[in-house]
């Protein structure tokens, strides 16, 4: 069994939610909020939302889209916001820019809806991260499989989803390690193609474990 050039260190991340002073009571205020809110807030309502609601695998992708649909009853705008795939973004500034542009264009095209009071306000929050090593490391693919099976949702989320921003690459911690430390480019690519929108964190992890097992049985 081949040994990695560098071990994979399993880490977990935990978040405490901070309530910001900003809120939006209509689409126009949402647009302003997107301008003024912190990166931590954009992260919370997009990347982290996917983790918080990972068990919902249909029709829920980020907090902005959900609020626009449920509180403003604007399904067309909600669909546009929901269609933003966080995997396409390497920076929160870029993601914020697209969110803001979509809302602004909708408000411009539909001024009669921009100021309509939502059924309930949107409260901007921020996720404050703490990372802690789990004391688990993998030198081989077998170690890696064992580690994956013991991960919490938060840890899997940290390595598989949140890592994309940290790495500033269109990949994740697992795929990066499989490719650069184990030389398993094919497995790395297959792992990176697991759809985080249509899977729960648990089912995404199960798929990854199956892919690793397949590789091990070759």
């Amino acid at each position: 069994m081949s040994t990695a050039k560098q071990p994979f260190h399993f880490v977990t991340a935990s978040y405490v939610t901070r309530i910001s002073d900003q809120k939006a009571t209509n689409l126009s205020e949402l647009c302003q909020g997107l301008d003024n809110s912190s990166d931590a807030s954009v992260f919370y309502h997009t990347f982290q939302s996917l983790s918080r609601h990972h068990f919902l695998t249909e029709g829920f992708s980020n907090d902005f889209a959900q609020w626009v649909l449920a509180a403003c009853n604007r399904p067309q705008l909600a669909e546009q916001l929901a269609a933003l795939d966080i995997r396409d973004y390497l920076s929160l500034a870029e993601l914020r820019g697209d969110l803001r542009r979509i809302v602004a264009e909708y408000c411009q095209a539909n001024p009669q809806h921009a100021e309509q009071t939502a059924f309930e306000p949107f409260f901007f929050c921020e996720g404050m991260e703490v990372t802690v090593p789990l004391g688990l490391e993998a030198w081989t693919l077998e170690d890696f499989r064992g580690g994956l099976e013991r991960l919490s949702h938060a840890s899997f989320y940290y390595h598989f989803i949140a890592s994309r921003l940290r790495l500033q690459l269109r990949t994740n911690d697992f795929s990066l390690w499989l490719s650069t430390s184990m030389g398993l480019n094919g497995l790395a690519q297959r792992a990176n193609r697991i759809d985080i929108y249509t899977n729960t964190l648990e089912s995404a992890r199960d798929i990854l474990v199956s892919l690793v097992k397949e590789e091990l049985s070759r």
Partner: protein, 409 residues
């Protein structure tokens, strides 16, 4: 003879592993590893009874088992103090404040007495609710980290009471609220900690089907037929008459029974009047079961919830609505009003159905009864939602994370 699932005499962290997964428990240990021996003091106003004491009675032992040196202190006071704090409580929910100006002095005098009695020298001091808020006076030279945990809705407080309390609140390092809607604009950081339930508590643990059936039969409810249930005090804000109307809207098309179970009628004059209004609305329908339950009915409530087909929470106003959390945890499809903390729990069409009227509630109930696969999916997703966010272990994780953030901002 009926039996219940065995309940461990002393619940340990590992007992949560079958509920959460061993990875989640390992994660709590990993987070706590950096807080070994750190001192924490939790202070509230009651040792038993009430949601805060219930949460602390589980939170404190778990944090201790994780290696933190946690102390839980309860402040003391005379009847005059607790009359004032009860008036504060109602006023902070937006009601009038009718106590004399001297009440503020009495409040502070009791806080001062407790300040002299309590140690209040921990690295992390968490003061729960307004009753002990002035203990912040014990802090010297900004030592330690002081957090105010507010369990009540401060969205529309009485200005007299809030202007008295606010100068104390803003001296803390941060405040914790149960929902963004309940928070205030404050110059200190505000954190979001949802209220929580304990999955291993009497009210929430798994029950044998036989016990559930026997409990329903004891109350004259037919376990074989559809059961719609609302668990709530007999209080107008819980709209029990509206629930009866919604049930009647369903019953025109589908066979069902209605259970309205709760306390508040025996010891509250208004509760008795509300119960009478509900009786009149029920009009002698034998399929409507009005159950007045004493406060020690956790097991019965658990069985009623588990035995129900659909759980209703048609409140006109609500705090967080932990009865909804309990129902979701039991994988029950929920039809509830979009008020207070309910929309945080019931994500419409994902973890339950929201309604805004009697007619809407009746329609959503009929829809779920006619689409059992959808009802089951909502129940499953509701259970996962609670597992992720509203269990005592999530609360433990939030405290650990907050303490770590305070140590290394």
């Amino acid at each position: 003879m009926t039996t219940t699932m065995p309940l461990p005499r002393l619940i340990r962290l590992d007992d949560y592993a079958p509920v959460l997964g061993s990875g989640e428990v390992a994660e709590l240990r990993a987070l706590a590893s950096r807080l070994q021996g750190r001192t924490v003091e939790m202070v509230n106003s009651t040792a038993v009874g009430g949601g805060v004491a219930e949460i602390l009675s589980r939170l404190v032992p778990i944090l201790q088992e994780l290696g933190l040196a946690v102390r839980w202190d309860v402040i003391t006071g005379g009847n005059d103090f607790f009359e004032i704090t009860k008036a504060f409580h109602n006023a902070l929910h937006g009601g009038p404040y009718g106590m004399p100006p001297a009440s503020f002095e009495i409040f502070l005098a009791y806080n001062e007495q407790n300040r002299a009695r309590l140690q209040l020298d921990a690295e992390f001091t968490v003061i729960h609710d307004p009753q002990p808020v002035a203990l912040i006076e014990a802090r010297r030279n900004r030592s330690g980290h002081w957090i105010w945990r507010c369990h009540i809705d401060l969205s529309q407080p009485n200005p007299t009471v809030w202007s008295f309390l606010e100068p104390y609140v803003i001296r803390y390092d941060g405040a914790i609220f149960s929902s963004p809607e309940f928070s205030r604009q404050l110059p200190i950081p505000q954190y979001l900690f949802y209220p929580c339930i304990d999955p291993l508590a009497e009210k929430n643990r798994e029950l044998e089907p036989e016990l559930i059936r026997a409990t329903l039969e004891r109350f004259g409810i037919d376990p074989q037929r559809t059961i719609l249930t609302q668990i709530s005090r007999f209080d107008r804000l819980k709209d029990p008459v509206g629930v009866v109307r919604a049930y009647q809207g369903v019953k025109r098309y589908l066979d069902c029974q209605l259970v309205l179970a709760g306390g508040g009628a025996a010891d509250d004059p208004e509760g008795g009047a509300v119960l009478e209004e509900v009786r009149q609305a029920a009009g002698g329908d034998p399929d409507i079961h009005l159950l007045e339950l004493p406060p020690w009915s956790a097991l019965e409530i658990n069985a009623l919830q588990r035995g129900s087909t659909i759980i209703i929470q048609k409140s006109l106003r609500e705090g967080f609505g932990l009865t909804v959390t309990e129902a979701l945890w039991k994988k029950k499809p929920v039809v509830a009003s979009a008020v207070g903390g309910i929309p945080t729990q019931v994500i419409h069409k994902h973890t339950g159905m929201l309604a805004h009227s009697v007619e809407g509630a009746a329609y959503q109930i009929r829809f779920l009864l006619s689409n059992p696969a959808t009802a089951a999916r909502l129940g499953e997703q509701g259970h996962e939602h609670v597992r992720e966010h509203f269990l005592i272990t999530s609360n433990v994780k939030r405290y650990l994370t907050l303490f770590l953030r305070l140590l290394c901002p």
